[in-house]
Amino acid sequence: MSQDLLPLFVDVLTEEFGIPAEDVSADASFESLGLDSLDVVELTLVLEERTGVKLEDEELEHVRTVGDAMAKIAEKQA
């Protein structure tokens, strides 16, 4: 069910961060997408606006990939 969030991530990462859609997959690490820790914090702000779910700093510690972030959000939405 976290897979349902992939289109949202594709949207946000292409529109807000200028990343080509074909690069975005659950397996893609933020590092491989060229996003540093500040970018990831900014990404969480956009995701919060879109989903109402806020990923806290401590939750981001183990978030390395798009899939990790999707799973965290799905978990908090449940």
Binding site: G18, L38, E42, E48
Partner: protein, 414 residues
């Protein structure tokens, strides 16, 4: 004293982008002032501004540049890239490969820093709360980010600093860079000024001060030294020069474009924004530059003046020139390129230093745009109408910042 030469320049200005276009723009005397759609949409009391030619930051500076970097940093990076390439320091990309980049320093000047970032982020903070504050706010906004970004892009790891003397910052940066070279802190300095402060907030505030012209006609609004001038038009841009010792330039086979003969700086110690009527602080800065260069007054033939088009500045500056040069004042051919570019604030000192160097090469002095009736209180030979061919050896470029901070630079041919 060790000769300091200029071996490269880069510029993005309202008069054009790149060395040739930007100087051709001021030589033409066509003012870059225009009604600014963004200011109109914000309902600011003044809606005229001088923007640089449009560009796409993400295409030019890499994906994420528009999101991660403020506009002033975009401008600085674009000008620095041109300057570094012009000096033959970089290869196909911006990385400095021709010499050891650890010995290349950066000295930038900016009056405001990330003005757009402040203007966008603070309302978001008020509206959405502290938890939605962008983590990019600080790195985008800090006024040293242009210098830091140029270092990241070029690999230059020498001393890296940013000076702020408001509208004199670009000239002050060149001054301090020269001193660092003479102190042996670097072999090459990337030095210049940058500003992108055309926001609703800053334009409204400058208007409230009475600093901006109320003239709504773009074709006459910026008119330095004219009797009908009533304020400046805000501009934006960046100018960057490459400085090094003559010995270093020749050793690496670079072609010097000009020699930086002297620098001078001073404070008015008078008022937060107004100059003293007699141009007191400016007199000191100009005199110090001439003494620093060891020149005779008669050797100076051209002045690229600060000439903002405000009633106070232009008359005080003319009195300062008269006080320094005495009878030789009548032999000086003076211009203010701000008639074309508007006032690019912290970038102006560097942009105008580049125009001064280009005038030296061309032996042609750009006209002061929109100068129709020269103020009778300004007893100077100011070029108006079209560019004037003039034979001269040394040019003086003056800059005066809010805070009463003044800078003067003297250049001659290579």
């Amino acid at each position: 004293m060790t000769d300091i030469v200029v071996t490269g320049v880069g510029i993005i200005a309202p008069s054009g982008r790149g060395r040739e276009a930007a100087f051709a723009g001021v030589l033409s005397g066509r003012s870059a002032v225009a009604v600014d759609d963004e200011l109109v949409s914000m309902g600011t009391p003044v809606t005229l501004a001088c923007r640089v030619p449009a560009f796409n930051p993400d295409e030019e500076l890499g994906r994420g540049a528009s999101r991660r970097l403020d506009r002033f940093t975009h401008l600085g990076a674009i000008a620095a890239r041109e300057a570094v390439a012009h000096a033959g320091l970089s290869g196909d990309d911006e990385l400095i490969t021709a010499i050891n980049p650890d010995r290349v320093g950066i000295l930038m000047g900016s009056g405001i820093g990330g003005a757009e970032t402040w203007a966008e982020e603070y309302p978001r903070y008020l509206e959405k709360g502290p938890g939605r504050t962008s983590p990019m706010f600080i790195p985008r906004m800090l006024s040293n980010t242009a210098a830091g970004t140029i270092a990241i892009r070029t690999g230059a790891r020498g001393p890296n600093m940013t000076v702020n003397t408001a509208c004199a910052a670009g000239a002050s940066a060149i001054h301090v860079a020269r001193d660092l070279l003479r102190a042996g802190a670097a072999d090459v300095m990337i030095a210049g000024g940058v500003e992108a402060g055309i926001t609703g907030l800053s334009v409204s505030a400058f208007a409230q001060m009475g600093a901006l012209t109320k003239n709504p006609d773009p074709n006459t609004a910026s008119r330095p030294f004219d009797v009908d001038r009533d304020g400046f038009v805000i501009g934006e841009g960046a100018g960057v020069v490459i400085l090094e010792t003559r010995e270093h330039a020749l050793k690496r086979g670079a072609t010097p474009l000009a020699t930086l003969l002297g620098v001078g700086a001073s404070a008015d110690a008078f008022h937060a924004t107004a100059p003293p009527d007699d141009g007191g602080g400016a007199i000191l800065a100009i005199s110090r530059a001439i003494a620093d260069a060891g020149l005779d007054l008669s050797q100076i033939g051209h002045v690229n003046a600060h000439g903002t088009s405000t009633p106070l500045n232009d008359v005080a500056e003319s009195r300062a020139l008269r006080a320094v040069f005495g009878a030789h004042t009548d032999n000086l051919v003076v211009t203010s390129t701000k008639g074309v570019t508007g006032h690019t604030l912290g970038a102006a000192g560097a942009i105008e230093a580049i125009f001064a160097i280009e005038s030296l090469h061309a032996q042609s002095i750009p006209p002061t745009a929109n100068l129709i009736n020269q103020d009778p209180d300004i007893a100077l030979d100011v070029v108006s109408g079209t560019a004037r061919n003039h034979t001269f050896d040394v040019v003086l470029s003056t800059s005066m910042g809010f805070g009463g901070q003044n800078a003067a630079l003297l250049f001659t041919g290579a």
